[in-house]
Amino acid sequence: MYTQGLSNPDAPAPAKAVEDAGLAARFQDRVDAEERIEANDWMPEAYRRTLTRQISQHAHSEIIGMLPEGNWVTRAPTLRRKATLLAKVQDEAGHGLYLYAAAETLGRSREEMFDDLLSGKAKYSSIFNYPTLTWADMGAIGWLVDGAAIMNQIPLCRCSYGPYARAMIRVCKEESFHQRQGYEIMVALCRGTPEQKAMAQDALDRWYWPCLMMFGPPDGDSTHSDQSTRWKIKRFSNDELRQKFLDALVPQAEYLGLTLPDPGLRFEPGAGDAVKDGAMKDGVRGHWRHGPINWDEFRQVLAGNGPCNRERISARRRAHKDGAWVREAAAAYAAKQAKQKRAA
């Protein structure tokens, strides 16, 4: 009932013009003062739309993201790996649920958002349009994909919109656990047989570039960034986050004895790199620089031409269709129960 109450079809007017300038100024003051905006507070329509889009895309990504990993649950090589992978995929379903709930506070129902996913209207993270071909992909996804997601998501714990920020606190805790889990899979493979190590290297070769792309287009090309930054939805630019990710990634790959598939990768020393005590301050530390990213691949995957775009959506559509009779039965049963209760 709650969601239906919120999904009033004539509620969100695209009426930028009628918004009260005073309310808008007060809203921005609150954001600037790092206050949290709550569901019942006044907010600009564009803020509401931006957040609804971002949070629901995030939820969709969790739901679609269950599929590539679900692909290996039945083939996990030990019972411990099977249990932890199943628990991880279950966490992702949980993240999807919190995030849909957070997005619902902005006025759109979960059903409407989910329909947008199934119809192809709504986007989800392109990374899940790549296939999981070996067990090592479970390691690489945890280490790289969850690692990249954490870089993106930690700043969202301070997002100006309260329900999203609070959901992200829990999501991030679980994600960092998932990342360690993935890295641990990689460690086991890299300490294993030559075949296992080759499997780990192959997974890294396939996931490295798509993970760098996860942060989105270079800063100059990103369409949503400026306004989101003013609204304190976004705290760091795409390139800044990509840089943090890469700087963390390089020593991790080195520890595993794996090679990043990036011939252009190089270290650019900072002013403080001559200091040997390791106590360098920000700004003086050097950075790892990646080679050129193939943005055409990114655009192709975004446009629906990734290796698994069609499979991922059709899997979700099929599940939804196959489950229709179950949902109908549950609704019919609930209606009967309610009727009996009224009669009693």
């Binding site: 790996r81 249990a83 199943l86 039965a329 019919a332």
Partner: protein, 258 residues
């Protein structure tokens, strides 16, 4: 040469533990096949949860079997390096998921038994088994509640859901008798009060199932014929396929550590 299959010294206790562990693992594996296919997100989580509980129960039981056998086997060797005839699970556990209704009926039949079974087993004179039972009993009670609620909802839902779930009840009914079997091997453990005789739970199970079927407006099948063989390693055609998926990585890279 790395091992690709193991031999198990099936003392009565080891055989018993493998049987119960295999029930939990195979059913847990079946539930894990639901990932990404559930009718609603909450149910994907619930099926995953029940699957995780069962895999956890299997691991405790395998660990105890390894300790009791003391022959260098462990949970993963039991799970990944035995072929279908060495598996000792109930035929019910290996039956395919079918539609959501079929999965819930299978769960109801099993959980209505497991709930009673593990509760009774908390009285085992074997302290390890009593401890495993105490944990499993709590989990099974939840599994029973969840699957009963769904069978009732589906049975008393729409015409279509009623027909589907009745078909599932009829299909799976012949696999319920095996749960109550107690062969000569297990009899020795019953006599030592290590385990209970599952036949003693029959009336209570009937009572639970009759109550759920009645609320669900479903009919209890009349045919008394029951299938068996799982406890002795004679399975349905389905188990081999399940194992070929589950054991694929271990068998492709023998002896590797994961």
């Amino acid at each position: 040469m790395a091992t690709t299959s193991i031999q198990v010294n099936e003392t009565p206790l080891v055989l018993y533990l493998l049987r119960r562990a295999d029930d939990a693992l195979i059913l847990g594996h079946r539930l894990s096949e639901w990932i990404g296919l559930g009718p609603i997100l909450e149910e994907e989580m619930a099926l995953g949860n029940i699957g995780l509980d069962l895999i956890g129960q299997a691991r405790s039981l395998y660990a105890y079997a390894a300790e009791a056998e003391a022959a260098g086997n462990d949970e993963d060797k039991f799970a990944y390096l035995r072929d279908a005839p060495q598996y000792r699970n109930l035929l019910l556990a290996e039956q395919p998921n079918g539609d959501f209704g079929q999965t819930m009926v299978r769960q109801l039949f099993y959980s209505a038994f497991a709930d009673l079974y593990w509760r009774a087993m908390t009285e085992s004179h074997d302290a390890t088994l009593a401890a495993i039972a105490a944990k499993s009993e709590k989990e099974s009670a939840y599994h029973l509640r969840h699957s009963s609620e769904w069978v009732i909802r589906l049975g008393d839902g729409t015409e279509e859901s009623h027909a589907r779930v009745q078909e599932a009840v009829d299909l799976l009914w012949p696999y319920t008798g095996e749960m109550f079997e107690c062969d000569a091997t297990e009899r020795t453990l019953v006599d030592g009060r290590t385990i209970i005789d599952p036949a003693t739970l029959r009336d209570a199970w009937d009572h639970t199932i009759n109550a759920v079927l009645s609320r669900a407006t479903l009919t209890r099948p009349k045919n008394p014929w029951m299938q068996g063989g799982g406890r002795a390693g004679r399975h349905s055609e389905h188990l081999g396929h399940l194992l070929s998926t589950m054991q694929h990585v271990q068998r492709t890279y023998p002896g590797a550590a994961w």
